[in-house]
Symmetry: C2
Subunit: 335 residues, 2 copies
């Protein structure tokens, strides 16, 4: 069925999205007009997902709609920002109503949950590519950065690592999982939960923060480089899911936890002096962050320990996901 | 040559862009952190360009870099906003240094000219697709909208129409142009000038505004629909370039001026009561807007006149560009 761009926007992207009071003009003009509250700064993040690279034809459309928003909100969380508005650039090879219904279902669910309004975008024809730009708000001067970690700060991660990576590897037949574990891990891969509330509660407490999208060591590396510090990581303290530990050898489990991406947990550092306040803030959290190590003064050096002794990672490991360098799967050849 | 995503960003997207004082955190963290001045609203626009749809392999990379920013700034101009920051989502099939050098050259030139800072984005691998989200500022309540046109308002356009459409048609061998005209018209197609200063000067004067991206009649239609009014257009008042009038029959010239897109002129309405102020404001403008008709009370009806008499457009005409309905070239088949 052929429909026009304006019909498409009217059908799928105008109705039944959250409506916020701070949106002066939303979808339907040349641009959105948005009110920023006083004493706030604007935080802007952008992420793209491409068919054949970030998902394949088997990925449910609802998962794609969820995930493209979730990965953006995860970046906002890593900045300590509160989500407010998103723009959607959607490039479609055909107008597939089943796909669009599933996609907008996923998009709307997560927008509803976080009261994030779709305020504009662009629809074009071409290979399936989705870019979301998300806008959040943070009290002036309170954004979390990557460059504030200091030697002696404690390193935390907000939840289990390696789950999404194992789900992807299993879907590519690299591992065999029980149906129940496959289902649980697919949920982590397809419907990641951005740590939005935690990110906001870390304002004024964490000295640095990032979200784990490329893998723990890769993303830790960004903090170490920006802060000009090093880290000691206790691999036996890494939070691991039962699905991961029951499906893999101990070494493989650490390998996934340290290097596979797409988990969207927060990785952050807390100074010793803020630790009491931090414990108070997270006392009632549903998912408690886990302390996995400490910041050192050896610039950009990561020391891995197991039971307090130096530990080496197996050498067949690719460190984190980089679109233009290190292939992590058959769909991501080296350029 | 294989380089990593982070090297790519460092090489092409970090240095030598305009640096604004209102950027608290720019490229290199999870998100950008931006200061909004008091009594201002944020305006957000998004546009995507896809290889094979919006440009082809012959299009100079520098033109693509210019145009993806220009079309976004044109949307900001149509809202009366002042450009401030852009985010870039760039999906590349390969890392082609010549292409990237040309692309960033075009991107940087226009960003420099408008003092617009690149504050973030995402680079991914996949079919060549470029999305820019541009952010502008407008005094609170002063944004130009589509829905304020009233019967009796005068209709203006900011410059010549049909030029980009003719350049495209000629490149597809539908018309033969002299080399000089082809060069001049290509300049309009490849390096459109967003009417940024004019858009800002229309705040408080124009009752509605839009930019001509899909074609005059199509974009006028958006104003008429949003404002629930009609229009009378004097086709013999349409501003036409010498390159257009010398290359086409009179009828074909009007056809291009009325229906072809990509000119990025502003189309706007001015109430009779604001006309004196408007004339004062544009008295010293380099390019003077031209009055081409008047708003009527016949909802969504467009009356075309020539020398005051009803005029009909040739029937072989497609009205404006719609990615998902009306094919305007071989690269845009119907879905």
């Amino acid at each position: 069925m052929a429909i026009g761009e304006f019909d498409l926007i009217a059908t799928y992207f105008t109705h039944r999205y959250p409506q916020r009071d701070d949106v002066d003009i939303g979808v339907g003009d040349d641009g959105a007009v948005l009110k920023i509250p006083p004493n706030s700064e604007l935080v802007v993040v952008t992420d793209t997902m491409v068919e054949g690279v970030h998902f394949d034809q088997q990925t449910p459309a609802r998962a794609i709609g969820h995930k493209i928003v979730a990965v953006n909100l995860s970046d906002l969380a890593a900045m300590g920002a509160e989500p407010a508005w998103i723009s959607l650039a959607l490039t479609l090879p055909t107008v597939d109503h089943d796909w669009l219904t599933g996609f907008t279902h996923g998009l709307r669910e997560i927008c509803d949950y976080y009261q994030c309004q779709l305020v504009g975008g662009d629809t074009t024809r071409g290979p399936l590519t989705i870019t979301v730009t998300a806008h959040g708000l943070v009290p002036t001067g309170k954004a979390l950065r990557r460059n504030g970690a200091k030697p002696g700060d404690w390193i935390y991660v907000s939840g289990t690592l390696g789950d999404a990576g194992l789900a992807l590897a299993a879907s590519q037949q690299q591992h065999k999982l029980s149906p129940d574990y496959q289902r649980r891990l697919n949920e982590r891969l397809f419907f990641p939960s951005p740590r939005v509330a935690l990110g906001q509660s870390l304002r004024g407490i964490a000295s640095s923060a990032i979200d784990v999208s490329d893998g723990l060591l890769a993303d830790l590396g960004h903090i170490l480089s920006a802060s000009q510090v090093g880290a000691r990581i206790d691999v036996d303290e890494l939070p691991l899911s039962l699905a991961l530990t029951e499906s893999l050898s101990e070494t493989d489990a650490y390998k996934y936890a340290l290097t596979s991406g797409d988990d969207y947990e927060l990785l952050f550092t807390v100074p010793e002096a803020q630790r009491g306040l931090f414990d108070t803030v997270i006392a009632h959290a549903a998912h408690k962050p886990v302390c996995i190590g400490r910041v050192t003064n050896e610039v950009e050096v990561v020391q891995l320990l197991y039971a307090g002794e130096p530990w080496s990672m197996p050498t067949d490991v690719a460190l984190g996901f980089d679109h233009f360098k290190k292939p992590t799967s058959e769909t991501e050849p080296e350029l």
